[in-house]
Point group: C2
Chain length 337, copies 2
């Protein structure tokens, strides 16, 4: 693999115009002098979009053509078989071939995971990749996985997520002995189903994991632990519920329902700030979420991300490449299995 | 069963002093002239707490002694076998014997459910009771079940929850043809696990249910549907995550982090309002949640509820008794199975 930092970008996938993603890549190139991009998608469209951009930036861009696009409705298993000429597949392929060190896509999560597993493989000992996100919470950010890649995990999968997340935080983010909580419906040991109780036993049996116990939905935003481990179903629901509750507050403040006089005014004036908070609550928009467990950096941006938001996903990929995330995690994984 | 409205109150269970719950019962009696309470717990303590209260109110109170208390740590199955002299058991027994029409408890949810199933039985066709709560959302309140009584539901259980919730809304709350959504990690039909996809088929097969499709975590607070149906694990997590995200916003506003000058002041001044919103987001505190599926009204108050919050749980029980919730639901259930 070359020493040069190269990120493959799935230009075509996502709800918004691919132009935003190309513009975000140009922004990112101007910030990082040593960086290269492989823009994957319709070659005519990409070249057309690059017209007028600085020659120096264009010199650090390679275009790889792909004539298919994975849509949001595509069933992952079908996309895997029938869309091997898609921008998503070709972008991941740049990583599997060692041409790029990371892939960024705003496309169909299930398809990205299926193709990622097929092309990049998982780390030894890891059955499934999971999506990890960074959530603003009181005092410090909380990292959480899985955010929706897997909706029927068993105890062993949850244990693997705890190991992956813990290594990401200690080896890549730089948090010493990160504290870990397992998401449940209560803190008492009798709470939850067999699956989380058994996962707790597996995690407790490993002294390398700084496990704190069960945590609940509100703990995600309270900074109770550095890392919240969960199945992707409740993880995804919790994240979106947090965003929904914040939007509700912002909505009621905007309406000023139940408020009178000065308080209505104050509330109105504080609104931009609340809106800012609401946006921050949704990490898929704000931070980019990355797949953990694959033998390659894959960052998933929100499908509806605008240029700035997509830029965050690109920054996340740059950070993971610069810090050698995959090698560091791979290196330490062995001792856990 | 007598025509008199009687509510059995588990005085002893809950995190706070039982005095708050007795005070809430006295408040409730003063609002509802035809109402009676059976206070269940330590008879000496209860009599002592009633000293000094108005004679008329005391004339509508019966005390039933119980010398055991179910704790929050008690395993439901053990509580069921060994705590048949507890205030929780005795309070539920008042309903099963037909002396009271409802039971209210702030105790251990799992034990309340286990004892409720044993003493009151479920409606014909219903395997498990679920907890339904009322959540403030944009435009209208959203009802949601299950909020944590069951953490490993199958598709048939989810279907039963949809039927129970729909009947509660149409027959008791008075919402015509309530709209129903099934909680999932995405709106597309391919999303989620086998369990929610099969539950969707079961619900769609019944024309009596006004089903709208899959909903996501944010929809709970957006008023997308009248009723959100889910397993108790993600349901509980979503609810608490919503409360956590709101608390986070309130915290950041209090700190004024990242704000300067006037905006900091505005934010500070709007804070009481945001706090009020945060409290509203947590329905277990604000509305009381009730068990659906049992052949008797059982309302679950938050363990840490104060006098006012416990009062909401009592009001919910009064409402369900006045509207004959159990009979109305029982009457209509047959056509769904």
């Amino acid at each position: 693999m070359s020493q040069q930092k190269t990120i493959a970008l799935d230009v075509m996938s996502g709800d918004r115009s691919p132009r935003f993603r190309i513009a975000a890549a140009l922004d990112c190139l101007s910030i990082h002098p040593g960086l290269h991009f492989i823009l994957v998608g319709d070659r005519h469209f990409i070249r057309d979009s690059l017209t007028g951009s600085a020659t120096e930036l264009r010199s650090r861009i390679t275009v790889v053509h792909a004539d298919q696009v994975v849509t949001m409705d595509d069933r992952p298993s079908l996309a895997l078989r029938r869309k091997q000429n898609s921008s998503m597949w070709r972008a991941l392929e740049q990583v599997s071939m060692g041409v790029a060190q990371a892939c960024v896509s705003a496309g169909n999560t299930g398809a990205l995971m299926a193709m990622g597993r097929f092309l990049l493989k998982t780390h030894p000992g890891i059955d499934r990749p999971a999506i990890i996100g960074q959530i603003p919470s009181i005092g410090r950010d909380t990292f959480m996985l899985d955010l929706g890649a897997n909706v029927d995990c068993n105890s062993e999968h949850l244990y693997q997520f705890a190991v992956l997340g813990s290594l990401m935080l200690s080896e890549v983010i730089g948090i010493t002995a990160p504290t870990i909580g397992l998401l449940n419906v209560g803190q008492e040991d009798i709470k939850g189903d067999e699956r989380v109780r058994l996962a707790q036993e597996l995690i407790l049996a490993n002294p390398g994991l700084n496990y704190q116990g069960f945590v609940e939905g509100h703990d995600i935003f309270r900074g109770t632990v550095d890392l919240v481990v969960c199945d992707g179903f409740p993880g995804n629901v919790a994240l979106k519920a947090g965003e929904g509750a914040s939007s509700y507050i912002s909505h009621v403040m905007r309406q000023g329902t139940g408020l009178t006089g000065w308080r209505k005014l104050y509330s109105y004036l504080a609104l931009p700030f609340v809106r800012h908070m609401v946006r921050q609550i949704d990490p898929s928009r704000f931070n980019g979420a990355s797949f953990l467990g694959l033998q390659g950096v894959v960052v998933k941006s929100h499908g509806g991300a605008d240029q700035r938001e997509f830029g965050y996903a690109l920054e996340r990929a740059v950070m993971e490449v610069e810090r050698n995330a995959i090698y560091r995690i791979n290196d330490k994984l062995e001792s856990y299995f």
